[in-house]
């Protein structure tokens, strides 16, 4: 693996991300905004499925999805750029895997809820009791993604370049 990390770190893009005065800085700004839009929307939908703000029609929350998709695109593209700068630092840290596992699980669960519960809400039917539990788990996973992302700073042990 070390050879792969070294190859990435010696690539022109990786060097640019580390050495350009603005590159890493701007990628961090985009990553923060992208994650905020993605996870903000995810948490809002989870809170609504949990039963909060019952006066707001659940299926209409799909109107927030384009903003979440834009947030996802921003977070992924900037995340790849940040990862390219210091691949060994992130990919040797198990917490990085936990961050991804949390976010992917949250997205999969949310998609499942959207496919099953939004049509029920549109038809005026009540959601099954387990919907609240699923939403609570999804909410925890979104928050988990944020927490693990933050803990990367405190848990990384391998830095091959500076």
């Amino acid at each position: 693996m070390t050879e792969i990390f070294t190859a990435i770190e010696q690539s022109p893009f990786s060097i640019f991300m580390r050495e350009d005065f603005y590159a890493y800085f701007i990628a961090l700004i985009f990553h923060s905004i992208g994650m905020a839009l993605l996870i903000g929307g995810g948490i809002l939908v989870s809170l609504r499925v949990m039963g909060l703000a019952p006066g707001a029609r659940l299926e209409r929350f799909a109107g927030f999805f384009p903003v979440m998709w834009a947030g996802l695109a921003l977070a992924v593209l900037s995340g790849i750029a940040l990862l390219a700068a210091y691949p060994a630092k992130a990919l040797t840290n198990p917490v990085f895997g936990l961050k991804f596992a949390s976010l992917i699980a949250a997205a999969v669960l949310m998609r499942w809820m959207v496919q099953r519960y939004f049509p029920l809400a549109a038809a005026g039917q009540a959601l099954p009791p387990r919907a609240k539990w699923l939403a609570a788990i999804t909410l925890s996973l979104w928050l988990g993604g944020v927490v693990f992302g933050k803990l990367l700073l405190h848990t990384s042990t391998m830095l091959m370049v500076s």
Partner: protein, 177 residues
């Protein structure tokens, strides 16, 4: 340059005298405060930020009156951020007080605060009486945009704090001496 307002050493001494400094410098003190800070930011963006988007005209069909009932969660998130943010600053005042990212963050928070007051003094009644599919009036859309821009700016500035640690020194209020 001399700071006539803040004395970082005195602030840190106070933090030590009340135990905040010691708490923050335990093995998990700082990371735990960061986690609480980020939970707060998540709540804030998920409720206030998404309400701002709705005010801007996104997700028409979602009742703004109903969505507004989630704002107390945003206020709780804000409180979590203020308390933990205070703990960060008093535990390492030299790292924060003269940091341009923190100064930008606090400025954006102040603008967001004024923006909230303007919202409740001007368009909040009109907004809460709108139907599910109505587009808010232009002043409300503008207020929503300013609010969301400020909160996204607050998150971003917070993320950039580590780029501007000492010897970076911003102090517009300092005097020669």
């Amino acid at each position: 340059m001399m700071d006539p307002i803040f004395n970082p050493d005195a602030i840190e001494t106070w933090a030590k005298s009340v135990g905040i400094f010691q708490l923050m410098n335990t093995q998990w003190g700082w990371p735990t405060a960061e986690i609480i800070h980020f939970f707060g930011l998540c709540l804030l963006i998920a409720t206030v930020g998404m309400f701002d988007l709705r005010m801007m005209g996104v997700a028409r069909g979602v009742s703004m009156k109903a969505l507004h009932k989630l704002v107390p969660f945003g206020i709780a998130g804000y409180a979590m951020c203020v308390i933990t943010g205070f703990m960060f600053v008093v535990s390492a005042p030299g790292q924060y007080i003269y940091n341009p990212a923190i100064q930008t963050k606090l400025t954006l928070m102040a603008i967001a605060g004024v923006n909230v007051v303007v919202f409740y003094l001007t368009t909040s009644r009109a907004v809460s009486s709108l139907g599910e599919y109505d587009l808010p009036p232009i002043p409300a859309r503008l207020i929503g945009f300013v609010s969301l821009a400020c909160w996204l700016g607050v998150i971003t500035a917070g993320r950039l704090v580590t780029f501007f640690r000492p010897p970076e020194f911003w102090c517009l209020w300092c005097v020669p001496g």
